[in-house]
Symmetry: C2
Subunit: 103 residues, 2 copies
């Protein structure tokens, strides 16, 4: 439990912060991959071409905005898309960004 | 006609550019005000607390992303939200950002 990083509650979600998280194409790609995967993914399984430390930063920004939930299973850090909560706070936003084929 | 600034066509709309335009709260406010107005508005009628030159920059960013169309009537520059075109390119995106009460 002590290793679980802090997460905002839905009531704390902030549209400005969510948009600042999603304006970055790498972070948007992480969200899109999680949405498509239908399961929680460990940090190392994402198809993103950035260094490990940069990736860690991106995951942190997404977590702090409320877009993903991070938790540990053994030594693996897993990432879950907080879709239902995000949909409740900002209806349609993730749909608009993830159903669209990008590049 | 010569005074009409260039506008992208729908096929040129780029999600990254649109999000970069919408991540700015002043620009998002302009879009929200246009959406609520149900008529085209001249640049001076918006309730935004920035200098005229800063406002001009924001309108330019919105225009170049395809979010607004700017045209002249006499000496007034009018702004129209390109909602139908934006909805065609990125279904649900403007709905998600304009139906939400901010602050």
């Amino acid at each position: 439990m002590g290793r679980t990083p802090p997460h905002p509650e839905v009531s704390q979600f902030d549209l400005q912060q969510v948009l600042e998280a999603l304006v970055d194409p790498v972070r948007r790609s992480i969200v899109t991959q999680l949405d498509a995967a239908d399961e929680d993914l460990s940090c190392g399984t994402f198809d993103i071409s950035v260094s490990k430390s940069t990736a860690t930063h991106h995951f942190k920004v997404l977590r702090e905005a409320g877009l993903i939930r991070q938790y540990y299973v053994g030594t693996s850090r897993l990432n879950a898309l907080r879709r239902a909560e995000m949909d409740a706070a900002f209806p349609g936003l993730l749909d608009a960004l993830t159903t669209r084929r990008e590049q």
